[in-house]
Every structure is written in C-alpha cells, then in structure tokens.
C-alpha cells in the first residue's frame, strides 16, 4: 500500500530535478501550459490533423526534462475512459463519410472521436509534464500570484495532499476489518455504508490535523509567500517561443503548408 501511495507521488518527486526545464520559472511553465490547453481546446472537432504539430510541446519538454514517457502514459490511461465515453457517441451518430483510406470508409464520427482522444492526450500530458517539472508548492504559489480564487487553490492543494491520507486511512481500516471477518473477501455490502462513513470522518479528522500542522508552520491562505525567484532572460525566450509556435500552428495550417512545399518539390 505504501508503495502505491509512493507511486502516486512519484511524479512530483521528479520535480526536484535540475534540467533546463526544471530551472524555468514556475509562473512561465504554468502560463505556457494553460495557454497550450486553451489553444488545443479551441480547435473544432474535425481538426485532428491540425493538432498534430502540437505534440512538440509535451514531447520536447519530456525529452529536455528527462521525464520517463511511460510514467506519464500510465497516468494518462487513468483519464482515457472519460474521453472514450465522451467521444464514443460521435462514432455512433455521426456516420457521414469523411474520406476513405483504401477501401476503408472513415466517417466524421471517427475523425471527431480521434480528435477528442488526441486533445485529451495533449492536454493531460501538458499538465503531467508541468507537475513533473515543477514542485506543487511552486505551482500553487504561482496560482496565488495570478490572483486565482483562494477556494480553488486550497481545494486543488488539499485534494492532492489528502489523496494519500485517504488511501492510508482506507487501508488501515480495511486491514482492521478483514482481520475480524474470516473467510470473506472485500467488504460486505451491508458494512459498506458505515465503512465509507467512518472513512470520511477519519479522513476529515486527519486532514484537520495536517492542516493544523501546516498553519503552525506559517501556512496562511491570505498571505502570499515571498519568492526571491526573478524571471530570467531564458524564461522570456521560452515563453515567447512557445507562445509564438502555438499561435503559428493555430493560424497557419502547417500540414497544408508542408503538402504545398512537398508538392512544389515534386
């Protein structure tokens, strides 16, 4: 169980690295990620091809920050069922033929389904890369500097911190339960209500104690921790370059441009 919780926070442990991506100012990384997501989401549902160039951002950052792709991919798989459910109806209801590959007819439904899938991949990967190269505390400080609502930030921070707490409480309760319920696997349905209720109360209690410990060490929502980190020239260059590329890919059809160039060469 401890290993599972450890796995949960393994991504954040990568944020202690010292590559050029890790050294970028957290505010810059946060802003470019948010901008990336906004741009990716702004494409219409049939623009699968137009999204392909955007793969440069998560891929390049992963390579530069030496983040293992498999680790991020595993976490992306958690988000996969949600986008599968969101996109599956498109295949069923949107059956108009878009194009054919050989003798296989590809419908607009399949195109829009693929677009949803790819958009999810890009957005989730961008967020995962952000978390793996920036300590969570720095992300939340940047969010506070951007004057995001406190309630949103505290919910974000606490949810992340308490997932492990919840797991630990659930595990110790489960062990205590199973030791007193011989020949049974899992939790009986009739005990489930009180088990979940107790878990909620215990987690609430534990969360309260953790929050007290944070307050004792100066954590206050309404005061912004000072930071001595200044934006460097590299931060500006990174921000300008990535934003320029996002915009260029958004307003210029790179695929068509390539096709034209290749056509010209032929």
């Amino acid at each position: 169980m401890k290993n599972k919780i450890q796995e949960l926070y393994a991504l954040e442990q990568l944020s202690g690295g010292n590559t050029c991506v890790h050294r970028l100012h957290p505010m810059v990384k946060l802003l470019t990620t948010v901008f990336f997501i906004v741009i990716v989401v702004s494409f219409d549902r049939y623009a699968f091809g137009r999204l392909i160039p955007y793969i440069f951002y998560p891929t390049l950052l992963m390579a530069l920050s030496e983040t293992p792709h498999s680790m991020l991919l595993k976490r992306f798989l958690i988000a996969l069922p949600f986008c599968l459910f969101a996109g599956i109806a498109n295949i069923i209801f949107d059956r108009v033929s878009a194009f054919t590959i050989g003798s296989i007819v590809v419908s607009y439904g399949i195109v829009s389904f693929s677009t949803i899938l790819f958009k999810t991949y890009l957005c989730v990967m961008a967020v995962l890369v952000l978390v793996s190269v920036t300590p969570l505390s720095e992300i939340t400080i940047s969010m506070r500097r951007l004057r995001m609502p406190y309630i949103f930030i505290i919910l974000f921070e606490m949810t992340y911190r308490y997932i492990g707490v919840l797991f630990e409480e659930a595990y110790s309760m489960y062990i205590a339960y199973s030791l007193r319920s011989t020949n049974r696997k899992g939790i009986e349905m009739r005990d489930m209500g009180s088990f979940v209720g107790q878990l909620l109360l215990r987690s609430f209690d534990r969360a309260d104690r953790v929050y007290n410990a944070m307050k004792c060490r100066g954590y206050a929502l309404n005061s912004l921790p000072q930071s001595d980190r200044k934006l460097s020239q590299g931060d500006f260059v990174f921000c300008a370059l990535t934003c320029f590329l996002y915009m260029a890919f958004r307003f210029v059809n790179v695929n068509a441009l390539f096709a034209e160039i290749l056509g010209g060469l032929n």
């Binding site: 401890k2 919780i5 450890q6 926070y9 954040e12 442990q13 944020s15 202690g16 300590p135 969570l136 505390s137 911190r161 492990g164 630990e168 534990r206 104690r209 953790v210 007290n212 410990a213 944070m214 307050k215 004792c216 060490r217 100066g218 954590y219 206050a220 005061s223 921790p225 000072q226 001595d228 980190r229």
Partner: protein, 236 residues
C-alpha cells in the same frame, strides 16, 4: 518569556478543555506537561499557537500578545511537533517538508537550503534529505518532524507526546537530541521517566486545570500522580 494568564478553551460543544490556566515559562525552562488522557495537554499546546482560540485569557511571548494579527508572528516563535509525525510530513521529500515553514515565512531559497542542511546536521539525519516520509521508520519520522520545526529557528519548542510510536532505541536517540537543543521546551507526555530525564519542571494537569507546578521530583509523588490518573516513578 512565555506567559499564559487565565486561559480558558472550550470545544464547539461547550465542553471546557482548559479552565483558567496560568503559568509563566522562563528562558531555558524545560517543562513537562503531564496529565491523564483528556486532561487538556494537547488543547493547551494548540491554544498557545492560536489553532484553538482561547475563549478568554492572554497568551504572550516576548511581549507579543496572541491575537489574529500576531498569530503568524507567534507561530514563528513557537514550533510545535505533533504527536503523529505523519500529520507533519506531507511533502514529497523531507527536504521540502523542512523547507515548508521557512518558505511560508518568506526566507530566500539560499537561506532555506542552508537552514535545512544545518538542521539535518544538527539532528544527524542528513541522509534523509531526499527521502520520502513514506519510507522512513518511526524514529526517523520523529526526527524529521522535529527538523521541520527547528529549521524555522523558534525560541520555544512544544512537543505533543514525543515518545509515542518509538522503540527504546529511537526513544534514547530522541532524549539525547532533545537534551542537546538549547531551546525552551514544553513537552506534553505520559512518559514519566522521559519527562524526568529531559525536563527541569513539571506542570500536572487534571480536567483542564493546573493541579501542581514544581520540580521533577513531583513525578515521584505517588499521591499526586494517582490523584491525576497517572503513575509515579518508582524508585528502585
């Protein structure tokens, strides 16, 4: 230095946790706060740093009175080590946990790095710097929890049941570490022999009130201890 005057603390259900409690703590004092379960030891520690708001009374440290405006200043002066180190270690790495308080108090990264290194050295736990708290033993967690507070350089340290979850060896390491710390200390504990070894003054609590306040020899007083639901140290 630390002055408590007529402190009363009630829980939301109006149960009185502490009633009209007063005492003064001088520089270098090592106080053992002892009492049975529910005597009000933890509530008192939480009230001193403003986590529990006293219904009445005054908490004052170095001339600063506890109120909503000064609460952060007070928390900078008083470090609290909680009973369960798991409540105190919530960051991915021990380094981040130790740096957490310093960051909140606005120190620069350079100073934070130096303070973390110094604290780890002081407690002989430098090897834990880049470890996750999930992989530490009870004794290591306890030392790391103390480090999270020491790095803030408080003048007063408060411990809630510091020997809980520790084996004899880890307990011994803790005792030696606490003896080395020059800070003024308030230690809430049930562990009488530990209190006798580390502290020079004892305050006995019962039902939120001070029963007696005196030298550690009180811990050998069978009558007082039994009256408060405790066991006196037996002289062999």
């Amino acid at each position: 230095m630390l002055k408590l005057q007529n402190i009363s603390v009630s829980y939301p259900d109006k149960t009185e946790a502490i009633a009209n409690l007063s005492f003064t703590l001088n520089d270098g004092d090592n106080i053992a706060l002892i009492g049975a379960n529910g005597a009000g030891k933890t509530s008192l520690l939480l009230a001193i740093v403003g986590i529990l708001e006293p219904a009445k009374g005054i908490v004052e440290i170095d001339g600063i009175q506890l109120n909503k405006k000064t609460v952060n200043e007070i928390r900078k002066c008083i470090g609290v080590v909680f009973q369960n180190p798991d409540d105190q270690l919530f960051m991915p790495l021990i380094y981040d946990d130790i740096a957490f308080g310093c960051r909140n108090f606005g120190l620069t990264e350079e100073v934070i790095t130096a303070r973390v290194a110094q604290t780890l050295n002081q407690l002989n736990i430098s090897h834990l710097r880049n470890r996750s708290s999930l992989k530490l033993s009870g004794g290591e967690k306890r030392m790391a929890a103390i480090a999270t507070v020491l790095a803030m350089e408080p003048s007063v340290l408060m411990f809630d049941e510091p020997t809980a979850f520790l084996d004899p060896k880890a307990r011994r390491v803790l005792i030696e570490a606490l003896k080395q710390l020059p800070h003024t200390k308030i230690i809430a504990t049930h562990d009488m022999t530990f209190a006798a070894e580390v502290c020079n003054r004892v305050i006995v609590l019962k039902d939120g009130c001070v029963v007696t306040d005196g030298a550690v020899t009180l811990l050998h007083d069978k009558k007082i201890m039994e009256n408060c639901g405790l066991e006196a140290i037996v002289n062999l």
